[in-house]
């Protein structure tokens, strides 16, 4: 490749107040390649791309597009320069059709119809060429997340983008949706488009990129050819120290049954049966992983056990029946019984984002006697002190109890939740997606904490859609598909292929094992 780089950034710097988000960053992205930018949360990846897309103005530095120095004061200029951006959180009008969303803001003339028919023609072509098929007349709210993302890509292509930036595109996708996305990206690259993929997932970088740049604390620490590096080396460049990518643990020594579920059925508010009579158990000193594509009933199981969804069937904790109707129990009684819960979605459930860290550190346990000063008043000072200790033990950064939860990075938010739940020393810990949106350094730490709890003889029920995580963390794996259990394996005796088949509802896995 001797052509001009599609994008060249020279000496880009950007500060927000005292925080230097980007420090003297230079990078060359060659045309017709997939260029990965990897780094932990807060490393400055998104800031850099926002500068490129005209959301922020760099304090210093220059941008060259195909060899020409280009000023990008706003996103209109970026689009004119052929840059398209697919955001982590989609910017689509929910009750518009796909076609209307694609055309929105790029209508030609006052009449809508010519633009729409032109877009329809283009959509059909793109669908054929790149597996980008989406029904143009479907409204956005009817589409799955993966399809919505395709609409974002189509929007960029409709605006004649030659350079496509994707910000953490797989964060919301299932594994198969992610694979599909990567096939689309490779197809686009082969047609000569340039793609910048921002991510913190090493596997994606290795799977799909040609070149990779690593960012750490606002600086570009390295740019290498993907074929000449490996995940371990990249992780070290990202974090700045050696990282364990595999969970370090000894074989489990399961003892008595802690949790026993028999014939659990869950019907949701719309009358749809989400869990169709499952049996499972978790023992002391083991981690049971429930694998499965999101939406196959795992979340409902966690919610039932967490005490905020009603169900039928029989569940016992250490031999004692627990109430499933919701009439005699709620999240508070579950906690009192020794079931602690790290929920799947820390933003929706695990944290009150506007609450301070110290307020969050007692969330769900705020009625515990040690946090009360009198019958009516809470002991906020004791809670702050308690929070300081837990923040230190779980290495939450920054260790400031008086900071609102929304101001912590994803990994540190998750550590707050984990510290709160694990430090109660529960009989049974429910864990949902413990490392979703969490950076590598924190993943290692979070996994260690869960394993330590197991080694103290406690039971852990883990739900994760990341197969890798289930395989490395769980001792025993149960697979759910369509509200039923399609198989159970020991983690040591199975592999991704076999679990993948079970996750798709294929119970005959004799070919894969």
């Amino acid at each position: 490749m001797n052509a001009e780089p599609a994008i060249e950034l020279k000496g880009i710097s950007k500060a927000f107040g005292p925080v230097q988000a980007n420090k003297d960053i230079s990078i060359r992205v060659m045309p017709g390649t997939i260029h990965g930018i990897i780094g932990e949360n807060g490393a400055g990846k998104s800031t850099l791309m926002s500068i490129l897309y005209g959301f922020y103005k760099a304090d210093r530095g220059e941008v060259f597009i195909s060899g020409t120095k280009t000023e990008i004061p706003d996103s209109q200029a970026a689009i004119a320069a052929g840059i398209g951006m697919v955001f982590q959180h989609f910017k689509l009008v929910e009750n518009f059709t796909v076609l209307e969303n694609v055309v929105l803001g790029a209508e030609e003339g006052a009449r809508l119809r010519p633009s729409l028919s032109k877009a329809r023609k283009l959509l059909t072509e793109l669908a054929r060429e790149y597996e980008l098929s989406v029904d143009p007349d479907e409204t956005i709210e009817e589409l799955s997340v993966g399809h919505q993302q395709r609409v974002e890509i189509l929007k960029a292509l409709y605006r004649k983008a030659d350079i496509l930036i994707l910000d953490e595109p797989t964060g919301v996708l299932t594994p198969s949706e992610a694979d599909h996305l990567f096939r689309i990206l490779k197809g686009l690259r082969d047609e000569g488009k340039t793609i910048i993929l921002i991510t913190h997932k090493l596997r994606e970088i290795m799977d799909v990129t040609d070149t990779v740049s690593v960012m750490r604390r606002g600086e570009m620490t390295a740019t290498v050819k993907t074929s000449e590096t490996n995940p371990q080396a990249l992780a070290e460049l990202m974090v700045g120290r050696k990282v364990l990518l595999q969970v370090d643990k000894v074989a489990a020594q399961p003892k008595d049954k802690v949790l026993d579920i028999q014939g659990l059925r869950v019907v949701d508010d719309d009358g749809v049966e989400r869990v169709k009579g499952i049996d499972l158990n978790v023992r002391q000193g083991e981690i049971l992983g429930i694998a499965g594509v999101a939406g196959n009933g795992q979340s409902e199981v966690l919610e039932v056990l967490g005490g905020y969804r009603s169900a039928t069937g029989r569940v016992t904790l250490n031999g004692q029946d627990i109430d499933l109707t919701g009439r005699a129990s709620d999240g508070q009684t579950r906690r009192a019984n020794g079931i602690c819960h790290v929920p799947e979605d820390r933003h929706r459930e695990g944290l009150i984002l506007d609450y301070f860290a110290w307020e969050n550190m007692v969330f769900g346990y705020h009625r515990a006697p040690e946090y009360q000063r009198s019958k009516y008043l809470m002991d906020n000072r004791a809670i702050r002190r308690d929070t300081e200790e837990k923040m230190a033990r779980f290495d939450v950064r920054p260790p400031i109890p008086n900071l609102a939860a929304k101001n912590f990075s994803g990994g540190n938010q998750q550590k707050i939740v984990l510290a709160r739940e694990i430090e109660r020393d529960p009989e049974l810990l429910l864990v949902g997606q413990p490392t979703r949106g969490v950076d590598i350094g924190a993943i290692e730490f979070i996994h260690q904490q869960i394993v330590e709890l197991r080694d103290r003889g406690k039971a852990v029920l883990l739900v994760s859609v990341e197969l890798e995580e289930i395989l490395s963390l769980a001792d025993r794996i149960t697979v759910m598909f369509d509200g039923q259990i399609t198989g159970e394996r020991l983690a040591a005796d199975t592999n991704e292929n076999e679990l993948g088949m079970l996750m798709a509802g294929i119970t005959d896995t004799s070919g894969a094992a």
Partner: protein, 366 residues
């Protein structure tokens, strides 16, 4: 990171909003052919220039503190209680019934009983919309508005058909009598040999309103219930996860809210010495503006209530002494509400930009 320091958010924005609305009001007054500075002077002397003016300003302020707290506690649970007006009206009935029921020997006995009566009646009027919201999903904005109308009609019926003394032409109850007369500011300040106008209605309720502000703060930021209310207000899904019952939160928040509105009756009804039609005079709605402007914090609510008390009294004076129609006062109040409540971003956005600009040079030095 927050763009602006806290003091700018809490103090600078409201002050700028008020200045803008005053400026626009001034233009209107100018258009009506009067000097706006003259008008302002009239308002200030009328509301703050004498103990008589202060007495009225603080009397209105007391009402607005109660209704402001009423709206604010609901805001904390993310409930929009538009029913403050109706709850205060019904609470006023509770106060009146307590005052009429017993020949009270002294106000010290009557006041606690009247507070209880007002709070219970106010809470009772809030509990049905709350229950409908919690159990049936009927939107609380709609139901509380409906309840405002229901109680208005109910009061007409009660005052015309039931509570009106024989032979009277006036839709009002009989006088409560001296046994429930609350000490006015003239009595209280008289103890310290400070002269205060005897004609102004401000009374000991003002201090009870301040006490209510403090208790409100304790409740919201220091108790388990306040913790749960705010958590529920921020995130319903997280509250469910933590085992906080939404039904309980809605009903409790609305009962406290209605109770606070009902307590207004000790000021408005007891000071009038009888229950008349429309004793609330729109204070329930002004409470919403007070809570919005005060950022649902008792200190802010106190200051905002003071401002609206000033506008109410000063506006009345303006209508009395100048050739300015009474409606103009409503316009001025409307502009203040518009700018402090609804058009918050109009001031906030430019101010945030300014702060970003100011911050930049400092970071270069670092």
């Amino acid at each position: 990171m927050d763009v602006m320091p806290k003091w700018a958010d809490a103090i600078l924005i409201p002050i700028l909003s008020i200045l803008i609305s005053f400026f626009l009001s001034g233009l209107v007054i100018l258009y009506l052919g009067m000097n706006p500075f003259e008008a302002l002077k009239l308002m200030v002397t009328g509301a703050l220039g004498s103990t008589y003016g202060w007495g009225y300003t603080l009397y209105y302020t007391t009402n607005f503190i109660f209704t402001g707290l009423c709206a604010a506690i609901a805001f904390h649970a993310r409930l929009f209680n538009i029913g403050g007006e109706g709850q205060a009206t019904f609470g006023g009935l509770g106060v009146a019934l307590v005052c009429l029921a017993v020949p009270w020997p002294h106000w010290t006995l009557a006041l606690p009983a009247a507070m209880l009566g007002g709070a219970l009646f106010g809470a009772a009027w809030a509990i049905i919309p709350a229950w409908l919201q919690a159990k049936r999903g009927s939107h609380i904005v709609i139901t509380t508005i409906m309840f405002n109308y229901i109680v208005a009609a109910l009061m007409v019926f009660l005052l015309v058909e039931v509570l009106k003394p024989e032979g009277s032409m006036d839709p009002a109850t009989r006088r409560f009598g001296d046994g429930v007369a609350l000490p006015k500011f003239s009595d209280i300040f008289g103890l310290f040999a400070i002269e205060f106008s005897d004609a102004a209605p401000a009374n000991i309720s003002f201090f009870i309103a301040i006490l209510a502000c403090y208790l409100f703060w304790l409740l919201v930021w220091r108790t388990k219930l306040g913790y749960e209310l705010r958590a529920y207000g921020h995130s319903e899904s997280a509250a469910a996860y933590a085992g906080i019952s939404p039904t309980k939160m809605i009903i409790v928040a609305m009962m406290i809210s209605g109770g606070l509105a009902g307590m207004m009756g000790i000021n408005s009804v007891m000071a009038t010495d009888r229950l008349v039609l429309n004793s609330v005079e729109g204070a329930g709605f002004i409470g919403l503006a007070v809570a919005l402007m005060g950022r649902s914090h008792p200190v802010g609510i106190f200051l905002a209530a003071l401002l609206f008390g000033f506008l109410y009294q000063g506006g009345g004076e303006l209508a009395l002494w100048a050739s300015i129609p009474r409606e103009l006062i409503i316009l001025i109040q409307g502009l203040v509400i518009l700018f402090t409540g609804a058009l918050d971003n109009l001031v906030r956005m430019p101010l945030e930009k300014l702060f970003l600009l100011l911050r930049k040079p400092r970071s270069e030095e670092v």
